[in-house]
């Protein structure tokens, strides 16, 4: 799923400076499942903004609403009546939802309340791990189901590199956490599967034009377009 984290409250206040009517818009899909921007979190942010305004002696009209999916026109239509009451919408959806909101309601100032960070998998409750880089040219079939694009710090296609020690990457995460070497995992998995021959294959440079590096992508399914 798409995961996101709420922006620091201070940054949200800066974005909203000078505005006295603000709708907090949550989304009930990915950001709700990653406990960042669903109905509950939207109500929390709206209440926090209300408390802060009262503390500062400012007038602020704020409430929250959430769309089933902020990234689809019909679900935005479903909240249009409420959006119409507010000149400013601060969205807790992922970047896709925020842009859809801005496009659907061009007369509104639409602002982000979250930072969309990755395509992650809930490893356990309240822990998400990055699992896909949406590179547009999947190699999982040759790597034992372990993605070297996002799980290898260098996105190597012919690993491991010299920085792999004791199954760990030489790079550590932002909180100094250890990162398993993706290519160690790939080697172990392919050995388990008896597919070691794949490790001897030299993978050609990847066609990155299929990723975002080739510019924004459009997907069209002609067979499914309305007649």
């Amino acid at each position: 799923m798409i995961t996101a984290e709420r922006k620091p409250f201070e940054e949200i206040l800066e974005l909203l400076e000078g505005h006295d009517k603000v709708l907090v818009a949550g989304c009930e899909t990915c950001v709700a499942v990653c406990l960042t921007g669903g109905e509950k979190e939207a109500e929390i942010l709206s209440t926090e903004l209300g408390i802060k305004a009262k503390e500062d002696g400012r007038e602020l009209a704020t409430e929250s609403i959430s769309a089933i999916r902020q990234c689809e026109w019909e679900y935005l239509d479903a909240i249009a009546e409420k959006v119409a009451e507010y000149p400013v919408v601060i969205s807790m959806a992922c970047g896709i939802g925020i842009q859809s909101m801005a496009e659907r309601f061009p007369e509104k100032l639409v602002l982000p309340a979250v930072n969309t960070n990755m395509l992650g998998m809930p490893q356990e409750h309240a822990v998400w791990l990055e699992r896909c880089g949406a590179c547009g040219d999947c190699v999982l079939g040759e790597t034992g189901g372990i993605c070297p694009i996002v799980r290898c710090s260098k996105s190597l296609l012919n690993g491991p590199c010299g920085g792999s020690h004791d199954g760990l990457c030489e790079v550590t995460g932002p909180d100094n956490e250890e990162i398993p070497c993706a290519w160690q995992l790939i080697h172990d998995k392919l050995n388990e599967q008896g597919r070691q021959d794949l490790l001897l294959k030299v993978t050609e440079p990847k066609d990155w034009s299929k990723s975002n590096s080739g510019g924004p992508r459009t997907m069209v399914k002609e067979e499914a377009k309305p007649v």
Binding site: F9, E43, I44, T47, I51, K54, E55, D56
Partner: protein, 178 residues
């Protein structure tokens, strides 16, 4: 399944006395006329029964505390704490069962996590995190219920009126004798 680890927060009663210079701004001397409004989210199985016992034992505790009964403090959500503060409560606390004694196993542990998290939200909003707290007690502890009510009321009296009521400046002014 691996056992969940929970970092137990220090006993709430050991919380430091309200500082004279709080996150909310400078505090004046305690206003003897200030009667804080305090909301308690109490568990049906412990705090509520303990309050009942305190009553049966004819124990005195401040009338400032108003209790909302929950089936378990695990039902307590962050939004409940925030809504109480937004509505003008000067302090809010949750009173759940002793750790390890929750009727629903871990409800009180969840409540503590939520209270601790909400404290960080309060700090972000410029409100003193000491305005909310989590306490644990058993249904047999009527005197402890009264003691917690007294302690918390004293704490909030020291902090002064909630900045939500009239804004920070007014709250600071209220704390200063005329």
């Amino acid at each position: 399944m691996a056992e969940e680890t929970t970092t137990a927060a220090p006993e709430a009663t050991d919380a430091p006395e309200a500082a004279e210079e709080s996150i909310e701004g400078p505090k004046g001397p305690i206003d003897p006329d200030f009667e804080p409004e305090i909301i308690v989210f109490g568990c049906h199985y412990c705090a509520y029964a303990a309050a009942d016992l305190a009553g049966s034992m004819r124990l005195n505790y401040p009338t400032n505390v108003r209790m909302v009964k929950l089936p378990c403090t695990g039902k307590l959500e962050i939004i409940h704490l925030l809504k109480a503060l937004e509505a003008g409560a000067d302090g809010v606390y949750a009173a759940g069962c002793l750790e390890g004694e929750c009727h629903y196993l871990k409800g009180n542990l969840w409540a503590r996590k939520r209270v601790e998290y909400t404290k960080t939200l309060l700090a972000e909003m410029g409100m003193d995190p000491a305005r909310i707290e989590m306490f644990n007690l058993s249904s047999a502890e009527g005197p402890r219920f009264a003691e917690i009510a007294n302690e918390f009321t004293e704490r909030i009296k020291k902090l002064g009126p909630s900045p939500v009521k009239h804004g920070k400046k007014a709250a600071a002014k209220e704390g200063t004798p005329a």
